[in-house]
Structures are given as structure tokens and as C-alpha cells.
């Protein structure tokens, strides 16, 4: 046959000659993952700069750079981009796509064309979200900034009454939700069907377990928020009354439906991040992971428990005391499997040969920041504490410690860990470590003062504040400057590394999982030369050296 396999199958439509169209139409999971990363990090920086603008405004009491309405739109923009465009597609879209099929020895995901479609659905969602920023007035040639000012949660009834572009934003969130569902569906089928022969569920790398648990959340929770958004749109267009108290509707019902999805969604964010941690810790401790099964099953149980705790977002919205007590009690349960994971990771490092490379630094930093984020979460899961602390900077600080200090830090850890896999090159370690320390010190300077300010009563989402909170906002500001500088240094370093970094071999970290046994680096189309037979555990080390070795035809030679 004259045609290569690439011509036949690796574009969704036709066989384009130009590199540009080959990328736009690609169904190769690695290329799709790289494109996700490019788009996501672009939006990430937009949201980061929006947040920095808010920090500028908050440096001193009173209005300096923006008025209250603009501030409301700014935090909504920050929230919508960060949640729906960045962190929900997040790790699954980037590393789930690039690494997961390599880890299980598959040639691609189960539905490569669906994967391509999903990516473009995500792009459409991004464009609709961008369109909702503005009001277009064709007659007068005006372009008015009119983004939703509801916060990313779109709480009824305010979201139904405000004159800003809430509907467009809801449509965007709905489309992005569909993309998320289809990603989850694709990964579930891939993990069930395309594992290499011999690889049962308990021989899968732990990142795949994280993706698997996440995919179930994407699949089963996202439709609930989808229909909630549709009901909100129906409400806005036709006034069906579901969330409108003037027709007997109940606005609190919106909060219930919203959090039935959006609480599992935070586990959707963190579970693949924990998966990255479970890859990095054994690799850089040169030791088999401690408690493989408990880590794997705790991912599954976090996903399960995550469904039945949403009520803790409504402690002050009007719920019966018995419901509050039950939801509070159930919420504590999440801490158990999470704690299991943390102890397993620490135990893995015990007596290991720890290599303090950049990915490991990020992972270790996360153990600190996520512990702060997680444990403060337990304090606001208590009904009594929550009455005092909810809607203050305390919960803002908790959320950012958990999501930035947990999910995003681990995303960066993964970015440094799999960078040589994706690019075949290495970044500058010294600069990368400097960037880590700036981020690590920055996040603590930025958010720790908020715990104190929130405890003392600084409410969230205000653009002005009493003079006694000024010191906390000033410290936060300098922390933000440090964090953002660290981010710029980090990305500059990675881009420089990609452009002119030193070429490294296929397995620079001495890792054991299958994605480090590619024939070339970066991996070729169609991945492994031959699919290996998997009769080994994912993290087998002996005296600090990987046990399992393959020849060029993926036959074991150890």
C-alpha cells in the first residue's frame, strides 16, 4: 500500500499537505493535548492578569483604578475563565490526552475523531465566552464591555435580573460542559478497552486511576449543571418560574442543582492532580509507591463521596438543621481518603533515594500548600465555623490554596515532569527552581494574610474595605507580584527549553511507567513500536534503579 498510515487516519477530514491543517485536523492524541495546553494557558494568563488588576485596585481602600461594577465583572471574568476554560478541562485535556494513552500502551484514545471534535467544541465554547464580554451595537459602531457580573456561580435570582450578558456566558459554560462530558466518555472507554494485554486495573499507573475517577465525574455530574444552565436560560427567555420567587419558584433550588455538579467538579480538578503526584513521588524517590491499592481506591472513593457533600455550600442559604448536620458530617469523610494518599506519598519517600529535581520540588511544595488548603477546608465544613467564615476572604484563601496550591501546582509539576517527553528537550533546571521558589513564597504571601483578614471579617468580592484590613491587602499584593513574576519566569524558561534546550534521551528521569519507553523522544505517531505485554507493576525499583527494561520491540529483557 502506497499511502502511509498517517495519510489514512491521522486527520479527521482529508489528507492536507500543509503542516497547519495537519495540526488543525489532527486526531493524534498528543497533538490535541498540546493544542489544548496552548489555548488553556493563554486563557490562564488572561485570568491571572485580571486577578492582578483586582489586586491593584485592592492595594488601598477606596476606588483607584476601577469602579464597583467593573470589579464585579472582573472577578466574574477571572472565575469563569479559570474554572470553565482552564481548570475543568485542565489536567485531563492536556495530560490525559498526551500521557494517558501512552501509559496504558494504547495507540490513541478509543474515539480519536470524537477527541478532535471535542477539542473544537471546547474552542467554540471559548469563543462564545469571549463574545459574551462585549455588547455589539452595530448601528452606532459601539463596543461596550458588558460581561456577566454574577460571579462564576450565576446564582439566581440575581443572574436572572442583571442586564449583563449572562445568557451568552451560560451558553459558553454549557458548550464547555459538553466538551468535558465527551472527554470523560472517551477516556472511560479508552481505559476500559485499550489497556495493553496483561495490564489489569491494578497494574495501571496511578495517573490513569486519577483520570479514570475524574472521567466518571465528568460523565455523571456535568449533565446536571448542563440542565441547570438550560433551566436558567429558559427562565431568562420565557420566565418559566423555576428559580423565580415571584412565581413560586425557589432560588435555593438553583444552588442545589449548581453544586450537585460543581462540588464534584472540584474533585474532578484535584483527582488527576493527585495522579500526577503519585507518578512524581515514586519516580524521584526511586522507590515503589507505598500502598498502591489504597491510592488507587482512594481516588475512586473521593469521586464517590464527592457526590454527596454539595450541601455544605448552602449552610447559610436556608436548609434544615438536620440536612446541615448530615452534609457537614459527610464532608469530613472526604478528608479520609485524601489523608490516606498524603500518608502514602510521605511513606513512599521514607528511605527513598530522593532526587530534588524541579518536578519533585513542585510536588513537595504542593504537599505543604495543599495540606493548608485541605485542612482549612475541614474547618469551614463545620456548620458553626462556616456561619462565621463563609463569604469571607477565609474561604477565598482556602479555595486558592487547594486549587492553585494543589491542582495548578501539580499541573506545573506535571508540566516539568513530562516536558522532556513531549519536547525531547530539557529546560534550564536552575531557572525552573528559581521560578518554583518564587511561586511557592508568592502563593503563601498572597493568600495566607487572607485567612487572617477573612477571620477578622473581610468579605469576599468587595472592591472596597475598611482601613484596618489594609495591611493584609498590601502583603497580598506583593505576594501576587511575586507569584505572577514567578509564572512568567517559569513559562519563559519552558518556552526557551523547547526552542533551544538540550536534547535528552527517552527516559531522563529513570522512570518506570510505559510512557518513558518510547522509541523516540518526542514520541512518534502511533506511539510504541510494539505494544508490550504488561506483567509487572507500574513502579518497580530495585536499589534505586528501574527493574523493567525493554528492547526496541518492547520485549522485556531484564
Amino acid at each position: 500500500m502506497s499511502k502511509t498510515y498517517f495519510d489514512e487516519t491521522h486527520c479527521a477530514i482529508g489528507h492536507p499537505k500543509s503542516t497547519f491543517w495537519q495540526w488543525m485536523l489532527t486526531i493524534d492524541h498528543k497533538r490535541i493535548g498540546i493544542m489544548y495546553a496552548a489555548v488553556m494557558f493563554t486563557f490562564f494568563f488572561v485570568a491571572v492578569l485580571t486577578a492582578l488588576a483586582m489586586r491593584f485596585e485592592l492595594y488601598a481602600p477606596g476606588a483607584q483604578y476601577m469602579d464597583g461594577d467593573t470589579f464585579n465583572q472582573a472577578f466574574t471574568l477571572h472565575g469563569v475563565i479559570m474554572v470553565f476554560l482552564f481548570i475543568i478541562p485542565g489536567i485531563p485535556a492536556v495530560f490525559g490526552n498526551i500521557v494517558m494513552p501512552l501509559m496504558i500502551g494504547a495507540k490513541d484514545v478509543s474515539f480519536p475523531r470524537l477527541n478532535w471534535f471535542t477539542f473544537w467544541l471546547y474552542i467554540v465554547g471559548c469563543l462564545v465566552a469571549l463574545a459574551s464580554l462585549f455588547n455589539f451595537n452595530i448601528q452606532e459602531g459601539e463596543l461596550l464591555f458588558n460581561f456577566a457580573d454574577t460571579g462564576w456561580t450565576f446564582y439566581a435570582p440575581y443572574s436572572l435580573n442583571t442586564g449583563t450578558n449572562v445568557i451568552t456566558t451560560l451558553v459558553a459554560a454549557f458548550i464547555l460542559g459538553m466538551a468535558s462530558i465527551l472527554t470523560g466518555l472517551n477516556f472511560l472507554v479508552t481505559i476500559h478497552r485499550l489497556r495493553a494485554p496483561g495490564m489489569d486495573f491494578f497494574k495501571m499507573p496511578l495517573f490513569v486511576w486519577g483520570i479514570y475517577a475524574t472521567a466518571w465525574i465528568q460523565l455523571l455530574a456535568t449533565p446536571v449543571v448542563g440542565i441547570t444552565l438550560i433551566l436558567a436560560m429558559m427562565e431568562k427567555f420565557f420566565g418559566i418560574g423555576i428559580f423565580d420567587p415571584s412565581k413560586g419558584g425557589d432560588p435555593v433550588l438553583f444552588q442545589h442543582l449548581f453544586w450537585i455538579y460543581s462540588h464534584p467538579a472540584v474533585y474532578l480538578m484535584i483527582l488527576p492532580a493527585f495522579g500526577i503526584m503519585s507518578e512524581i513521588i515514586p519516580t524521584f524517590s526511586r522507590r515503589e509507591v507505598f500502598g498502591y491499592r489504597t491510592i488507587a481506591l482512594s481516588s475512586a472513593s473521593i469521586a464517590g463521596i464527592g457526590y454527596i457533600v454539595w450541601g455544605h455550600h448552602l449552610f447559610t442559604s436556608g436548609m434544615s438543621d438536620i440536612a446541615k448536620t448530615i452534609f457537614s458530617f459527610l464532608t469530613f469523610f472526604v478528608a479520609i481518603p485524601t489523608g490516606v494518599k498524603f500518608y502514602d506519598w510521605v511513606a513512599t519517600m521514607y528511605k527513598g533515594k530522593i532526587v530534588l529535581a524541579t518536578p519533585m520540588l513542585w510536588a513537595l511544595g504542593t504537599i505543604v500548600t495543599f495540606a493548608i488548603g485541605g485542612l482549612t477546608g475541614v474547618t469551614i465544613a463545620m456548620v458553626g465555623g462556616d456561619i462565621h467564615l463563609q463569604d469571607t476572604y477565609y474561604s477565598v484563601a482556602h479555595f486558592h490554596y487547594a486549587i492553585l496550591g494543589g491542582v495548578v501546582f501539580l499541573l506545573f509539576a506535571g508540566l516539568h515532569y513530562w516536558f522532556p517527553l513531549v519536547t525531547g528537550k530539557m529546560y534550564n533546571e536552575t531557572v525552573a527552581k528559581l521560578a518554583f521558589w518564587m511561586n511557592f513564597v508568592g502563593i503563601n504571601l498572597l493568600w495566607f494574610p487572607m485567612f487572617i483578614a477573612g477571620y477578622l471579617g473581610m468579605p469576599r468580592r468587595y472592591f472596597d474595605y475598611l482601613p484596618e484590613f489594609e495591611i493584609y491587602h498590601e502583603v497580598s499584593f506583593w505576594g501576587a507580584i511575586m507569584l505572577v513574576s514567578g509564572l512568567f519566569i517559569m513559562f519563559y524558561n519552558l518556552i526557551q527549553g523547547w526552542r533551544k534546550g538540550e536534547a535528552v534521551g527517552v527516559n531522563p528521569w529513570h522512570a518506570t511507567t510505559l510512557e518513558w519507553h518510547m522509541p523516540t523522544s518526542p514520541p512518534p505517531l502511533e506511539n510504541h513500536t510494539k505494544v508490550p505485554y504488561v506483567d509487572f507493576n507500574p513502579y518497580e525499583y530495585h536499589h534505586g534503579e528501574p527493574v523493567v527494561k525493554f528492547d526496541e520491540n518492547m520485549k522485556r529483557i531484564d
Binding site: 500500500m1 499511502k3 498510515y5 489514512e8 494504547a106 495507540k107 490513541d108 484514545v109 478509543s110 474515539f111 480519536p112 462530558i181 466518555l185 472517551n186 472511560l188 472507554v189 479508552t190 476500559h192 478497552r193 485499550l194 495493553a196 494485554p197 496483561g198 460523565l219 455523571l220 455530574a221 456535568t222 449533565p223 446536571v224 448542563g226 440542565i227 441547570t228 438550560i230 433551566l231 429558559m234 420565557f238 420566565g239 418559566i240 418560574g241 423555576i242 423565580d244 415571584s246 412565581k247 413560586g248 419558584g249 425557589d250 433550588l253 442543582l257 450537585i260 510494539k530 505494544v531 508490550p532 505485554y533 506483567d535 518492547m554 520485549k555 522485556r556
Partner: protein
Amino acid sequence: MSHEYVPEIAVDREGKEHEVQGWQDDIYGGKLGFWLFMFTEVMMFGSMFLVLTYYFTLHHQDFLNASAGLNRTLGGTNTVVLLFSALTMGLGLLKMRAGDVKGAKLMIWATIFLALVFLGIKAVEWNAEIHHGIFLTLPALQAGNPDSLPFGQILFFGMYFTMTGLHGFHIIIGIGIMIWLLKRINAGKVRPDHHILHFNIALYWDLVHLIWVFVFPYFYMIGAGDIGGVAHGH
């Protein structure tokens, strides 16, 4: 232009050969994927039933009164039509499996026809309701004017039009994919030995009729009894 897909062979250390499942020609993967997609539909309609149940508890009598006003003859006819369409769809799949492509196509056409009948009856019903002044955005379903219905009835009809509307949308999508299926059969892409698309569309249609089987009693039948001297029908 497509290659015959040949599955790869992985060899273990004893030299035993194991067939590798590729993403190509993965019938079970296709079925699994579509079943998972059906779960999302269940969660979506399930959430709406949750909303419905909540308001049914809050505004019990209003719901019964509003339900009593729906036309059970037309709704019941539609239920039968949809059940029959599920039968024709299933028979079509059986014929496809048995190798009778012509019979399968006939059955798909019958299903499309029944789906159109369903939509027609639906249109007659909605038309009658609009005639009675009951439709989204009409004064009866808005608050604070002399024609306003009680709270519970506004909510009932709000959910009624949303859910039957969304169900109708699924019927329309179903007609679209059945026409696509017919084109694929004509093009020889769906054959008795390769009918995963037909299988999945039949699965979709089953779910669409199953949702109606829950929608019908919840909207039409709860007010059917002679409760509190409520008048029947229009």
C-alpha cells in the same frame, strides 16, 4: 481507501501471543461509549424530574389541577405511537442482524413515520394549549396580572413545556440520525456484519421512548383521578 485493520500481537516473556485491542473495529468500545452517553441523558432528565418532584411536593393541589387540564387522549395516543415506534426500531435491528437489509430499512422508515406522527400530535396539543392562553410568555404563566394562574400551575406548565419540549427536541434529533443511518446503509457502511451504528441509534430511540414513559404519567396521569371535584379535560 481504508486498510483492512489487522490487530497487533503482543508477546509475553514465555513467548505466548496476546491479541491487542486497537481503537479500530472496537464494537464493544462503541457500545460502551454509547451506553455512557445514555447515562448523561439519564442524569439530565433525572435532574429535571428532581425539580418536578420538589415542586409537586410544594404545590401538590396546583399540580393536580393543572394536570387535570391536559388532554389525556392525545397524550395517551402519543404514548402508544412512541411504544410502537420502539417496536419498529427493534424489529429493524433484528432484521439487520438477520441480514434482511431491505426489511431493516423499511422498519427505520416506519419509525421515522411514527416519530413524525408523534410530533404532529404534540403540535396539535400545544396549539390547543396556546388557544387556551397557556404557553410560555403568555400572561397566564406570568406573575402579577389578572390572568395569572396560581404559583404551582405556573411551575407545572413551565416544567411541562420545558420537558416535553426537550423531549421533542430529542425526537427531532432522532429523526435526523435515522435519516443519516439510512444514508449509511445505502452507502454500504452499515451492513449486517457491521451494524454498530444501527445498534446505537436503536439504543438512543429506546431511551427517548423510555423518558416519555416517565414524562407521560408525571404530567398527564397525576390529575386523572376525580380529586377534589376538579373538572376533566378541556
